[in-house]
Symmetry: C2
Subunit: 211 residues, 2 copies
């Protein structure tokens, strides 16, 4: 579901907003198609003209939740920033959006997180999209000589692991009070200046001798 | 509770082993003092000679679960490895212990994770102890010129964030299938070669211009 283009899409958008208000007030488990129809002042039969079932509704809610995050990722991708700045903004702007929502209403935030864990199928395509965009930034960085000796997929996995608290939603929620844009900037600088496919001594082939 | 030194401690150790077997078989919520007494073939009154309540039992179970992890951390700390190797082994050996337990019985592993989240007070002292040891390694690294411009506490927070999937138990559990010693070694090399208090361009003071 993109931004509304016709009456059905406008109706879907309005229903998603009502459904989000309902779960923010009463938790994820309070959401039923019948309650949504009632709250929207329409019959259940009419509601099913907009969403053929709860899965379709949840998919639209995921799209609605992720839409501003996708927008900032796409704005960063389209910018002419150097790769290091791009990667920082890619994670930082998304992180700030989510942190601000968490600060405004931590209980509502937790409700969306639980909903996302329960209906991960509706979330997975956004995780894949973010990985796709991150691969583009990694490719630009590699063209400038960064991440020498790593394949794009290896670099993708390593970067996602090194910034996990600013990226993986459940990890972010748990660590939120210890996260900051300053720390993220230090980590992205470490990614660019320290990450490569060359073994520089962290792991010894012979294992731990002295312990 | 350290390793058993007298009859009471030997009895506590045996009861902890029985309690662990019970939650591995039946889940965290199956554990009651009454069931434990019954399974151990003793009266409830006798059980309370060993543990004055469920909190004391859970504390002993946490000590039992963390004991091998503390042992590998202490062995690494006592070694004469250089700081880079030490930090890798510090995270890697603990990670391998937990991953092997997860591989052997993922359901039991999940039960311990849920128990740890529910009774976090019993877990916190081990988190603090791990941070204390990690600070020692960071101090040794700083003495060799690494992490220039960072305070020990800043470096501690940044390192914990950069290795979160190998360190924070719930993050580790979610990411387990994508984690490896090879990736951890690349991350520790990036920590040592890339992490400092010097801004190298990830974050622009003027913000994002082009997006």
């Amino acid at each position: 579901m993109a931004r509304p283009r016709n009456d059905i899409e406008a109706g879907q958008e309005r229903l998603v907003e009502i459904a989000c208000a309902m779960i923010e007030e009463r938790g994820a488990h309070a959401l039923t198609m019948q309650d949504l129809a009632s709250r929207a002042g329409m019959s259940s039969a009419n509601l099913y003209r907009y969403f053929e079932g709860k899965d379709a509704l949840l998919e639209a809610m995921a799209e609605y939740w992720f839409r501003p995050k996708v927008a900032v990722m796409e704005a960063v991708l389209a910018s002419d920033l150097p790769p290091r700045r791009k990667m920082y903004e890619f994670f930082a702007r998304r992180f700030v959006l989510i942190r601000d929502a968490w600060r405004a209403d931590p209980v509502a935030h937790q409700t969306y997180m639980e909903l996302g864990e329960e209906y991960f199928e509706q979330v997975r395509s956004y995780v894949d999209l973010a990985d796709h965009y991150l691969c583009e930034i990694i490719g630009e960085a590699m063209a400038e000589g960064f991440f020498a000796g790593l394949e794009v997929d290896e670099a993708l996995s390593l970067v996602n692991q090194m910034v996990a608290p600013y990226c993986a939603l459940s990890t972010m929620t748990m660590a939120m009070e210890r996260l900051s844009e300053d720390k993220l900037a230090r980590i992205i600088d470490a990614v660019f200046d320290g990450l490569s496919g060359v073994d520089r001594g962290a792991r010894s082939v012979s294992g731990l001798r002295a312990a």
